[in-house]
């Protein structure tokens, strides 16, 4: 009898460890989703892109090979293109462009592996060496866009904001997660500054393999951060250097993300399988016009389907969460598998999400769904 009691207590303890303490605020009524669609010509696959608005005109800009094209979102016409190769051997010296952002239509900032370029009226005005080319400042960390943290220009402080990671740590070590992960580089002096923001505690305590991406969006003095295995959103006020934690767990998340044993730190396969199965928060976007945050979530998944086939990351069900200015979740919307959250941005008309369709390949058009909520 005693043994049965011990087993039962242990089971209850194990189960309770997996339950999330949910403090998410939820509005009583869910907002209604409305959707429209736009298409515009684009022959190539886009990976690096940016949005900006000037004098009320909105532009969607994207990089294809060594060019950046800017399309007027209203007229759907490419109004400008910029060649981003300024000298021979540039890629070998500074690396590839991994992110770019605008400050008005004339000024563009390019982030490369080893430099930031400031380009004005299509002329390169300044090269700011970073990372390996400035070892006095970048001793044990790097400033980079690791896919999900595009750079942002803080016009008031004249700084470029972006992601920082520990370049001397293994990703299975706690030190990697204790590193400050948001930084700025002054356009005037080239000086780097790190903010008081590291990975959430769960990443310091446990290992989550490839599910350690940092998703970043910026607006004014705020940097918004999301991490795959943490239901919370973090809002860093860069001016006060303090951050706020916003509970924002999806109602579709049933279990806490399972950590991965560090013995699998060198197994790409186990890390991929882990990523496929765990509940996974991805991009977040701040909408300055409506003062809401959009957050994407990918539901947990069994490694195999009911028919015994293996699942892949693409099979994860996508959910869109919307949080209002009071940090309440005002809606959660399952989206079909053709929505591509990786290419999404906020415009005056709402949240633009790239939508895969056969048509794109048939006619060379890229499709966006524009979502609004009332």
């Amino acid at each position: 009898m005693k043994i049965i009691s011990i087993i039962l207590i242990s089971l209850i303890l194990i189960i309770s460890c997996n339950v999330i303490n949910d403090k998410t605020k939820r509005a009583a009524k869910q907002l209604q989703l409305m959707e429209k669609e736009i298409k515009f010509p684009c022959l190539k696959k886009i990976q690096i892109y940016s949005y900006f608005e000037q004098h009320g005109i909105e532009y969607f800009c994207y990089k294809i090979k060594d060019w950046i094209y800017c399309m007027n979102l209203k007229t759907k016409i490419v109004e400008d293109s910029i060649n981003i190769i300024f000298e021979k051997g540039e890629k070998e010296k500074y690396g590839e462009v991994t992110s770019f952002c605008f400050s008005g239509s004339d000024s563009i900032f390019l982030l490369m592996d080893k430099a930031i370029f400031f380009v004005e009226n299509k002329i390169r005005k300044k090269v700011i060496p970073i990372n390996e080319l400035d070892s006095s400042q970048f001793t044990s960390f790097r400033f980079a866009n690791l896919e999900n943290a595009p750079i942002y220009y803080d016009n008031k402080m004249k700084e470029i904001i972006g992601q920082v990671y520990c370049s001397t740590c293994f990703q299975s070590q706690k030190s990697f997660y204790k590193q400050k992960i948001v930084g700025s580089i002054s356009i005037e002096t080239g000086k780097v500054k790190l903010y008081n923001m590291s990975y959430p505690d769960i990443y310091v305590m446990q290992y989550y393999g490839f599910a350690n991406h940092v998703y970043i969006d910026n607006y004014c003095n705020n940097t918004y951060l999301s991490f795959p295995c943490d239901p919370n959103i973090f809002i860093l006020n860069r001016y006060s250097n303090k951050y706020e934690i916003i509970p924002a767990k999806s109602i579709f998340q049933n279990n806490a993300a399972r950590p991965l044993d560090t013995v699998f730190a060198n197994s790409r396969e186990e890390k991929m399988k882990h990523m496929v199965t765990v509940p996974y928060y991805t991009e977040l976007r701040y909408d300055k016009n409506r003062e809401v945050i959009y957050r994407f979530y990918l539901k947990e998944l069994n490694i195999k389907t009911s028919s015994g086939k293996y699942n892949s990351f693409d099979n994860k069900q996508l959910i869109l969460l919307v949080l209002n200015k009071n940090n309440e979740v005002v809606g959660e919307y399952p989206l079909d598998k053709y929505y591509n959250n990786y290419i999404s941005f906020v415009g005056k008309d709402g949240l633009y999400i790239n939508y895969f369709s056969k048509e794109r390949f048939d006619t060379g058009k890229i499709v966006f769904k524009i979502l609004t909520f009332n």
């Binding site: 043994i3 049965i4 790409r268 396969e269 991929m272 490694i303 293996y310 892949s312």
Partner: protein
Amino acid sequence: MYRATLLSLLILISCYSPSEERANEKFNDLANYYSNVLNLSLPKNGIIIILQNQRCSSCRLSTFLRLSQLLKSNILPKTFLLSKNDSTLINIISTIPNKVVLFDTENIRKDYGLDYATDLVFLLKESKLKNWFELSNANLDNLKSIE
């Protein structure tokens, strides 16, 4: 009685190692792929190499070259499974004796757990999976031969 049952259970659990479980699962995945997709049985003895060469095989050229050196000295039959025809890889493979090259251009192997973006090497001996590993420079560093 309860104690004896609990003890047996604990012993059973501790004897079954996770790496053994992974190897068994991998063997079954490979056998199912061979049987359902290729309509073949797994070779009794041989080496099967799955290369995820959807993109940029030249990025991993040094790894492939090191693997080919190890395979050249091995007499076992080798089967390469590639996701597409790739002149860089085919040129390397052509130097290896006793080999067959198959293609899975539809990427059906992902349904069988054989494409989690990592290259795989399997060593089969007497119809059993003797060894398997993910292909990387780090893993190859520890190998003097595939056997």
